[in-house]
Subunit: 159 residues, 6 copies
């Protein structure tokens, strides 16, 4: 039986932290869906289509990585692709607390799905999409925080 | 002399976590006021009247439990009902840090009032009003997180 | 019905942090037992008799405060004096985590007994019995961390 | 290619927390080695043979679960059974910090091996082997914290 | 060579916590720039000019303290005044996590600039500008949290 | 007036984490004393003379770095060399809590001395002297955690 997982997030935009977690989680699974959250209540810097494209460009040579879009519960997204696993990275202790709460909540909503955690590489644990956007907005160099295509896209976006 | 406490919160809506803290705190006091915060600066899903009714329905057989509304400082609300104690639940470490700061602040504002803490039951510590609303909005089943009347009200509200 | 609590600890020796928690918890209860842990597996600087005497001297004018000795489970000590409550102070986040675990454990052992927490006064939250002993051993002045009788006893002890 | 993992620990003795992590991690792997740490520098309540037997009894019907003994580095133990993964449970924030440090250390020692984390079930997150032994020593009832065979063994051990 | 530092913040308004950090950091440096963040994306209670004046009034007799305004990256602000150091206070553990991330990010942006941390005085560690504003809005007495000129300004502002 | 600091620790043995903190703190001071704690109550792997030599070898070309030995209070050691500052590195949140307590304690013992904190470089924040010794004992390669001379000394020591 195939082991399938989803890796949920906003990916607005994808960072080297995300890339690292995906690469390290891949050997555990036969298929890994990058599950792009898209909520009508949130404002994104990059459109859904842009976020998806920036993602795909970084995993074009890995057939096991796929993408999907989710506007509902994470556990429902997992079920929709027969995934029994959710993958999450933990960057800080505050992250850990939040993730623990979501884990319990998700278990209550669907006990058949297990969330698997990886700690962020320490050199990448300070990077978040929102911090990257803030730095880019202030004309800081984000090239050590995001993949090349994202650095380029941020430059274009911020003008 | 009567021991009187207030249990402040937004209760938008009340969860099983709140119900648990209230039930466990009750034996300590002769009167316990559930003190509903109502700020003109905040947006609530449920109106003040709805929040109050959803609360009362769960404590109708406990005469020691009363309700009150507060739009000012918590310590002033306590003083207004002769309460010498504030009750708060702690769900996570982040909660603990925030509560510790509020405790010090409240002591500075009124040194006669003591805040008493209970740790959330571990099965309920992942439940917050905001998480419950988010799940309900995404059509998730919240019946294990909130009292029956709230689950019903959320269903009506979310349509 | 009387509200009775125990405040368990080693009190080797009692610090101003302990005194503060006891004083602030007192209005909640009709009787408060300072419950001195005495384990044959631990080494104490002060004997049980000394620890008890150093405690009593600080609460001689408060009839509600009593002392007891415990070599068993905390919940059994509580039950032995008809106490329905355990009082604990929280100094740091690490404290909070440990206390949360003990709270859950104690609830599993005896669900009738509730543990009530107070945050340490911030000016006292760095004081622990072990740190006080370490400072006293290195000839530091501990008079701002412990009651006068303890400061004197430490001086005698450390020579 | 088989996915093989080790789950390292002292298991002195195995608790329901361990059992839960093993059960939840199993679907991820084709083989899971419970890797019993045995250091000549540590004192154990149960002998290596006892710890192993208490473990095995709980997984006798699961062929994927195996046991091994380790007195060296965890990454070397993993390599010795061709495991590319280490499984660890996280109970508290303090746990999380320690595990993060060990994760980084293990990556530095062998970058081919990935550590996968699961959060403890909240009802079990207060249970540790050492706490269980302490409660058993004080004649507390540990039957809700450990498997039946361990509860029996503790009773025998503690007399 | 002169040792120059910046102390960045919004200072909306300056609190006794800020004053304490500045006073304690001063002996380390020959010049200390209070660096007022001013972002077009944020809403402030006090205008830039008001925030600056409220600051200056408290350090009029200390020639080493200067003020500057920053709408860009903190490391760029530091470089603009030849500062090799950034000073930051840490109030809580959550603060510490955030500051650690910013530290790593700033090092990635400019490795020549070092951030120096001081822990907040425990009696002041619960005070933040936002909490002070909230209390003032609810007509609470903030005189023990902020300098006199700020207390007066808040009273005028809140009416 | 000279700015003098001490950097206290056991340095049993010095790690790359210590070396990093010392290098980054140096520009702040005119003299920096590495203050080697030596307590008759502790057991060290390396003798005081060995620890000192392993330290010195790494700072032989930096005249600002000096060494001293301390068996008493840290604030007394600082005063003995006219140091107004103590330097400490913070590796984890647990570190931060401990350091905050020691900071408050030291301020109570001598209010004229200020403790300055640097966060550990994230690639080094998992390294502690005790973890290094544990890995070396189990024949792991510690060359990426300690200076060359220490790696050699550990190899000799562990046999």
């Amino acid at each position: 039986m195939k082991r399938i997982a989803i890796y949920p997030g906003s990916f607005d935009p994808i960072t080297l932290g995300h890339v690292d977690i995906i690469s390290r989680a891949l050997p555990l699974f036969d298929e890994l869906y990058i599950c792009i959250s898209n909520s009508s209540k949130k404002t994104y810097l990059f459109s859904l289509e842009e976020r998806k494209q920036l993602l795909i460009d970084n995993f074009s040579d890995t057939k096991k990585v796929k993408t999907m879009v989710n506007a509902g519960l994470t556990v429902d997204a997992a079920r929709s692709v027969d995934a029994k696993f959710i993958v999450r990275g933990i960057r800080t202790n505050m992250d850990a607390e939040y993730e623990k709460s979501m884990d319990v909540m998700n278990k209550a909503l669907n006990n058949d799905i297990e969330t698997i955690f990886l700690f962020a590489n320490p050199t990448l644990s300070s990077i978040s999409s929102s911090l990257v956007k803030e730095v880019a907005l202030l004309k800081g160099d984000v090239s050590s925080f995001v993949p090349k295509n994202v650095a380029q896209a941020l430059k274009t976006k911020m003008g």
